[in-house]
């Protein structure tokens, strides 16, 4: 039981931190521009595919450095020449723009790279078990994923709270006009934030590609869950996104690891049903079976009881 608990925690941590890399960019972009970027997970997928192509020629590490840079540049260009033009027409137009972009990216990726799974592998140097516990290996690559994600969180947090640029960004979130009046180039800041946000998503794709497999559906699998995190954490709150990511990562991991289900619960209260009961499927549900919908359940609960999210400040 202990081994399951430890590994479930580690697995939850890996998933949670990966989700945070995506959610951090999304929440930053939202808090600055008020744009819910539906194409955010597409930048994650782009990261994985760029890194795959680069790694074919220059190896994994070159991919790790260049792929997020390319994705970030693409993101900045999208903001400069796409979003900024659409911005005039209001938030709905922006929403529809990113929504369309998500499909465009998915189709483009299938067009260029094809529809089959890409053989994108983790580097040989990290191809060893970091430690073995109760006969189970924890691969060095997963340790590397945790390290990178934690590093990003610390850097991002320090930049936003300690540096001058961070202060300007924070000010631009709440008082864009004042910041512009002080002589700062707010559109440039927006472009920068969008670029960095998408680069983070790209980086998440680069390190997730080898473990979660690189295929055209990878954005769709992760896309909806990232929105759940941003809403649960509180729109625009970096710390909230961090807590929500870990919460959801661990929640899913523990739910899968558990063996509890309706039969056990019903036994506890002394009720049992015939297997011919019309709702038999419901009475035999187990927690691992419903694990993937738990985040959405949590989302509904949060929206009912704390609509601002865990750490959100917005009241409007």
């Amino acid at each position: 039981m202990l081994e399951v608990l430890i590994f479930a925690t580690l697995n939850g941590l890996v998933t949670g931190l990966l989700l945070f890399m995506l959610a951090s960019g999304l929440t930053l972009i939202f808090s600055m521009m008020g744009v819910l970027n539906f194409a955010h997970a597409s930048f994650y997928m782009l990261g994985a595919y760029f890194a795959f192509s680069i790694s074919q020629y220059l190896g994994f590490w070159a991919g790790l450095i260049f792929a997020p840079l390319i994705v970030g540049s693409v993101g900045a260009l999208v903001e400069r020449y796409g979003l900024r033009r659409v911005h005039k027409s209001g938030h709905v137009a922006e929403l529809v723009f990113t929504f369309g972009l998500a499909f465009l990216v998915e189709e483009a990726i299938q067009f260029i790279w094809g529809r089959d799974t890409k053989n994108y592998q983790s580097p040989d140097i990290l191809d060893f078990p970091l430690f073995t516990l109760f006969g189970q290996e924890f691969s060095a690559y997963r340790g590397f994923m945790i390290a990178i994600s934690l590093g990003i969180f610390i850097c991002l947090y320090r930049v936003l709270t300690r540096s001058r640029i961070g202060i300007i960004i924070q000010a631009a979130i709440t008082h864009p006009n004042t910041v512009a009046n002080l002589g700062h180039n707010v559109p440039l800041i927006f472009m920068g934030v969008f670029g960095v946000g998408t680069a983070l998503a790209g980086l998440a794709g680069v390190i997730a590609g080898p473990v979660l497999t690189t295929f055209p559906g990878m954005a769709a699998v992760l896309g909806s869950i990232v929105f759940v995190i941003v809403v649960i954490g509180g729109l625009g709150s970096l710390a909230g996104a961090f807590i929500a990511s870990l919460l959801i990562g661990l929640l899913q991991s523990y739910a899968i690891a558990s063996d509890v289900g309706m039969p056990e619960l019903l036994n506890l209260i002394g009720v049992s049903f015939e297997s011919s009961h019309p709702l038999n499927d419901l009475w035999t549900l187990t927690l691992p079976q419903v694990a993937p919908i738990l985040p959405f359940l949590l989302l509904v609960l949060v929206l009912i009881f704390r609509p601002t999210g865990l750490l959100g400040k917005r009241e409007e």
């Binding site: 590994f7 499909f103 089959d116 473990v211 055209p216 559906g217 899968i256």
Partner: protein
């Protein structure tokens, strides 16, 4: 929104191919066949590779040799159902309004069930515009058992037949004392789990079932938490019916966790899966399937594969049964000189056909289930003449069961249309 973009593109393609065809053979109208499978989304790679095989087989076997029925070309019309029962209904309407009367479909038993019910109802109401379902891959036994239909023909062995073979093979391995079963949470996944448990209990009562897990289809990001449970259960082997991305991710997680136990599967090869498993999966991953893999038995089939590879260097002939289905359907058309679904269906019943591998296939008339030899193959790079994904790795057949021994009884009580 996505479907709009996509169907627009397909429409364009269709229009172009129609135009070019009408100029080529003014007098002879083509025989049009719908191919309805996921061509976008999570499972797009399987659908696309099936489409390429059907398209190539039609061109290579018939169109390049002057067509069928005295000069009519075969035209394949791709319809993207995104592997969703809802989109299947929409695409079916489209197929009907386009006048298509034969539908090839294989991926997902849930979709095949929907299609079978829809077609049965449609044919009852429109006796002059009937539709025939050629199922080349959906293996839920119900399709040829309690839910069997006169308009449905299956060209793959169903899950219980395959599991019979697989559990026979597993039963021979005395090292296996415990088994973990994991699968997608839908009809096929449940059939695999229930049947495996039943058959293993009969054949090897000493094998303990230490896990029976279901996960949502196409939704799992990371299988590591599931693999953690497999490891801590101490299982000696794993059975899974997973396919597509769910199969790769699961196998990848098992390998990454350092677990070196055999994994018995239905679909762990091709479309990037073989390349992704590579060296790490060698001698661990096994598949049960029809149509033997390496060694390929006949020169005819070798030539076919080579020709396919020459045209589609990045794809493989992943499902030879699609070719069987096409050949048998054309044979039925030629015999009856007709493209009427009802006539073809009658000709297909109890047809015996020698395929490219030189083996006689039998389409049982009472339930429309095909019978042919079944094989268990291993993922390896030794003795593999025809590899998969150009990776050097491929499937080597280890265990063969002749067609006679795969025959199972069916509970099918077919409603035959009156004419």
């Amino acid at each position: 929104m996505k479907s709009k973009i996509f169907s627009f593109r397909l429409n364009g393609l269709l229009l172009v191919s129609l135009l070019s065809l009408s100029t080529a053979s003014q007098a002879q109208e083509p025989v049009r066949i719908a191919f309805m499978d996921p061509l976008s989304g999570t499972f797009a790679s399987i659908g696309t590779s099936g489409l390429k095989i059907l398209q190539f087989a039609a061109d290579y076997l018939y169109n390049s040799k002057g067509g069928i029925l005295g000069g009519r070309m075969i035209e394949i019309v791709p319809l993207d159902n995104k592997q969703s029962p809802t989109d299947t209904q929409l695409q079916f309407r489209r197929a009907v309004s386009d006048g298509l009367q034969i539908i090839f479909q294989g991926n997902s038993s849930a979709v095949a069930n929907t299609l079978s019910t829809t077609i049965a109802r449609h044919n009852r109401r429109n006796p002059e515009m009937e539709v025939l379902q050629i199922n080349y891959s959906a293996v839920d036994p119900a399709l040829t058992e309690e839910d069997c239909s006169f308009w449905h023909f299956r060209f793959d062995a169903h899950a219980v037949m395959k599991l019979n073979v697989l559990t026979d093979y597993i039963a021979q391995n005395q090292d296996i004392k415990s088994m973990y079963i994991i699968g997608q949470d839908y009809s096929f996944g449940h059939v695999v789990a229930d049947t495996s448990i039943r058959l293993l209990n009969e054949k090897r009562p000493d094998i303990e079932i230490v896990g029976n897990e279901f996960h949502p289809i196409g939704q799992v990001k990371d299988f590591t938490p599931y693999v953690t449970k497999i490891v801590s259960s101490g299982a000696d082997a794993v059975i899974t019916g997973n396919f597509g991305a769910d199969m790769v991710s699961l196998a990848r997680s098992i390998i990454d966790s350092g677990l070196e136990i055999p994994v018995y599967t239905f679909y762990a090869a091709y479309d990037g899966i073989t390349a992704t498993l590579g060296e790490d999966g060698k001698n661990l991953i096994r598949l049960v399937h029809n149509e033997s893999s390496n060694p390929i038995p006949t020169e005819t089939r070798k030539d076919f594969i080579r020709a396919f590879k020459a045209k589609n260097p990045n794809n493989d002939v992943t499902q030879q049964r699609i070719v069987n289905a096409l050949q048998m359907m054309v044979t039925a058309m030629e015999e009856t000189q007709s493209t009427d679904p009802y006539t073809i269906a009658l000709a297909l019943e109890d047809m015996r056909f020698t395929n490219m591998s030189g083996e006689e296939l039998w389409m049982r008339g009472s339930d429309h289930q095909i019978f042919q030899s079944l094989h268990v193959s291993v993922h390896t790079d030794e003795g593999v003449e025809f590899d998969a994904d150009n990776s050097g790795f491929g499937l080597l057949s280890e265990y063969h069961v002749p067609a006679e021994e795969t025959i199972v009884e069916s509970s099918c009580q077919m409603q035959r249309p009156r004419r």
